[in-house]
Amino acid sequence: MIQVDVASKSYGETRVLQDIHFSVSAGETLAVLGPSGIGKSTLLRLISGIDDQFEGEIIRPKRIAMVFQEPTLMLWRSALDNIRLIHPHLSRAEAHDALEMVALVDKADLFPGQLSLGQQRRLALARGFAGQPELLIMDEPFVSLDAETADQMIALTEALIAQSRPATIFVTHAAAEAKRLATRTLSLAGSPATLAPPMSPKSVSSKGDTL
């Protein structure tokens, strides 16, 4: 469960976000849509806690995972270590399981630089889910992948979310992605950006039963 109440967020004199209030329950997947440059990534920085310079309050759980636009891996550590060093409580076998989920178990000892971009993205996804997060944040996780790889990634993400059921917030500018993964969609619009009237919500019962 996460509660977001952002009264305003400014960079210097420029106010970028205003009056953004919503909450996401466990098992729910919220897509935040909006054109690029509107402040989606800024909002994620606030939600994830990297940036605490704003007016308002965000209540977030302790175990948070994030999947970034870029894979953001430790290029100097093996694929397996990229998971184990982030989640030190995992045993070797559990870390292997995490790689198994994204079909990378045979790449465990390779460096990220030896993997394709699609594989690196999958590794980042595995890293995100390995810690059983209560809140999963994804920032344009399928951008710059070819259609087929993106499709596989989305299917994989869907399966992983269904399995560990975190509260998920993801940002995208592709409405199709949002439609496929999300149980609920919010749109950012205006300047400073604020929540636009909700778009037709996908039926909640098909995805989550906690609402």
Binding site: I50, A65, I86, F111
Partner: protein
Amino acid sequence: MLIRIASLFGLAALWVFAAWLTDDAQVLPMPQSLLAPFWHEATTGTLPYHLGKTLMRVLWAFGLAMSLGLCLGLVMGLYRRVDLWLDPWLVVFLNLPALVLIVLCYLWIGLNEMAAIVAVTLNKVPNVTTVIREGARALDPQLKAMAQIFGMSPTRRLRHIILPQMAPFIAAAARSGLAVIWKIVLVVEFLGRSDGVGFQIHLYFQLFDVGMVLVYSLSFILVMLIIEWTLLQPWEARVNRWRTA
């Protein structure tokens, strides 16, 4: 490796040619004429004794300068406020001549081992700090955010996120550090110690013995080459494995 050896032979050839031009063993002896005095110094134990003394000072000063410079550089690179405060100091110490620091250390601390090592360390810390600070400024903010969100502990962050990104800068600081440090150690020994390569060079300088000056300095260069090839370069290759894999 072959190219390295050929390159060193080229240097030796240049020496032979220069010695042939000057044609005066007092000024520049032929390389092969140094072998006998070298062997004599090595077997009597004088050369190893003084080499050992110098090497110990180099290692102490190197260790201290690298640790201090690493800490200072990281802190200054990561925290803008600290950088603002300490940057003028850095400029002052960077421009303080090595000789001044050495003389002051001897005057203030005394003509002892500690003064010698402190003087060399203080001479080197500002350079290491400057290089490391550049590295710390170039750290990837995205990885920092990742470590923060996933709640990595500070020691893990340092070891697995920060230091690996710093490796090229640490290697650069270490390489230039080692070379500069041994040169300063020689000056320190020249001015105020009664052992070490610098002391021996002082001695043979007063005797106008170019041959022995060369024997001692070349022996230590050999030691440094061995350190470079057996320690520094293998370490660098190991931490850079991921780049070439």
